[in-house]
């Protein structure tokens, strides 16, 4: 080895030594972690080399609470899991119990569940779009999305009396029928909402900065998506056409016509675009539901004190964030013996350390935003 080469190598070694990688603590209090999530990022300049998530800042042992409550009493607690899609959590839990206890619910309740659930999906995606805009620095989009979401909350408030934590579904149907004129209000909302989507597009989708920021960033390969059991828009963004509403239909989703948007590349843009299109599909589903909804009761006659037969069930639905599963073990008493929530964002978030390395800090924020986490659900 010549002297110059030796010298070069020494310089190289020294630079790799002195090029210190920096551990940056992103969170628990950080505007872009959407709650109290702590990410430990190893930064090489602006580039993320490694990411270690720390969870549990919101842990309240939802499952232990569930084991100490009667089946009906758990419903209000499910609201507090994914507080941006409470109706869907209600539905998922009630559906699990209904499957376990073999209760069938009236047709009107089924239709109302679909209508309300899809409105909830729109609301949830809206808030995702808004906060994602916030992550990318576009505050205006956030406010616009909130305005439309408020209208959905108004609709839900007229139904259930609550704006966030509805506790509206019951085992066997719904707590109440919708008030008079509510379905017309939903129709009016849809008519107002559809043109708004193109306004959002003007501000975000068509905008070059928006496109450049999220295209080709945070790629999640399909095999990784399956290995990490990602679900919902995360999975569909990676090019896998999988939607429980179509592939394992629950409720009456098999009666509805809708497309399942997928993105080919698995980058942040695809996840964004999948959610953006899902809003349109949800509008379509709600419109079909409004046309077909029959009159009748909304609550099946169920016993006051619900007891589930001995056994267990893993029931899953397609919540706005992905596969929301409930694993319930019943021992024949009024309370579940074991109650586990397979939170979609908990599982989706576990793929974050795979997606982050190699991208910049600004991308890290966008990628984390594209996972669409709700920390209350992640930590349970």
């Amino acid at each position: 080895m010549t002297t110059i080469n030796l010298h070069l190598q020494q310089v190289k070694e020294r630079t790799t030594e002195s090029m210190e990688e920096m551990w940056v603590n992103m969170g628990p209090q950080h505007p872009s972690t959407h709650g109290v999530l702590r990410l430990l990022l190893k930064l090489d300049g602006e580039v993320v080399r490694e990411c270690i998530p720390y969870l549990g800042y919101m842990h309240r042992c939802h499952e232990k609470i569930g084991e100490n409550r009667a089946y009906v009493q758990i419903i209000p607690y499910t609201d507090r899991l994914d507080y941006l899609a409470s109706m869907y959590n209600n539905w998922a839990y009630c559906l699990a119990c209904e499957r376990l206890m073999e209760i069938s619910i009236p047709a009107r309740a089924e239709y109302l569940r679909v209508i309300i659930g899809e409105l909830q999906r729109i609301a949830s995606h809206l808030i995702w779009l808004g906060t994602f805009g916030l992550d990318l620095g576009n505050f205006t989009l956030f406010m616009w999305c909130f305005r439309e979401r408020e209208m959905i909350l108004d609709l839900f408030e007229a139904v259930s009396g609550q704006r966030i934590n509805y506790s509206f579904m019951r085992i066997g149907g719904l707590a109440l029928d919708v008030p008079e004129g509510w379905l017309a209000d939903v129709k009016a909302f849809l008519a107002w909402f559809t043109p708004r989507l193109s306004e959002y597009d003007r501000l975000s989708t068509d905008n070059i900065i928006w496109q450049k920021r999220i295209q080709g960033v945070g790629i999640l390969k399909p095999e990784d998506a399956i290995s990490y059991a990602c679900s919902g828009p995360m999975l569909r963004g990676s090019g896998i056409r999988w939607d429980l509403r179509r592939d394992d239909p629950y409720g009456i989703y098999d009666r509805f016509e809708f497309d399942i948007p997928v993105g080919p590349n698995g980058d942040v843009w695809d996840r964004f675009w999948v959610r953006r299109q899902e809003m349109e599909q949800s509008v379509k589903i709600v419109e079909q539901g409004l046309k077909a909804i029959p009159p009748g009761p909304v609550l099946a006659p169920v016993a006051k004190k619900l007891r589930a037969p001995v056994g267990d069930i893993y029931s899953r639905v397609e919540s706005p964030r992905g596969e929301l599963g409930h694993y319930i073990v019943a021992d024949g008493s009024e309370r579940p013996y074991r109650y586990k929530v397979r939170a979609p964002t908990f599982v989706n978030l576990s793929a974050l350390p795979v997606m982050l390395p190699g991208y910049m800090v600004a991308d890290a924020v966008a990628i984390l935003g594209s996972v669409d986490i709700v920390l209350c659900e992640v930590d349970r």
């Binding site: 707590a175 306004e199 070059i208 900065i209």
Partner: protein, 175 residues
């Protein structure tokens, strides 16, 4: 070269388009409700403070202290004791700790006598101490007709007053 220039033009043009839509919004009406001056009209079903409903003729509480609501409450925030036997049974004391209440409406749904309601429209519940949110029978005693799940619409007979029953479940203001 051509692609380069077209890319620049596309970027410039898309930014102009975005600016056009924000400019249009600059002149639209704001949707904010200026809260203390203006108040939002709540729908009938808005869950607010608990109230113990009364029989409008005899002005007596409908509650028979059957403890159903206290048993169903997931947060364990309802406590009561009754006195008397049979039909004459009435609550001796009745306490709801609103600090714990999750507004699930289960207590109202389970009540067989239509004796408790959350559709009261009283939502300004703030106080300076946690004990302000612990309601006893006196604070929850209804002063007139309140809609409930069994009688959701209007009071029977025109004589009764309806303190908080805004009409229909409208979806709030639009645009």
């Amino acid at each position: 070269m051509w692609r380069y220039l077209r890319e620049i033009w596309r970027g410039f043009w898309s930014i102009l388009l975005s600016m056009q839509i924000t400019l249009r919004y600059l002149f639209t009406r704001a949707v904010t409700v200026q809260y203390p001056e203006e108040k939002r009209q709540l729908p009938t079903r808005a869950l607010t403070q608990h109230v113990l409903t009364i029989d409008l003729e005899s002005q007596e509480l409908k509650c028979t202290a059957c403890d159903m609501c206290a048993r169903i409450c997931p947060a364990n925030c309802i406590h009561l004791a009754g006195e008397g036997k049979g039909k004459a049974r009435r609550p001796k004391w009745f306490v709801i700790d609103h600090n714990l209440c999750m507004y699930c409406n289960l207590c109202v749904e389970v009540c067989p006598f239509d004796a408790i309601s959350m559709w009261t429209g009283k939502y300004e519940l703030g106080g300076f101490s946690r004990t302000n949110l612990v309601y006893d029978m006196e604070t929850m005693h209804a002063d007139g007709f309140y809609p409930t799940i069994m009688t959701p619409r209007s009071p029977p007979g025109a004589a009764a007053k309806a303190p908080a029953a805004p009409g229909g479940g409208k979806g709030g203001g639009k645009g």
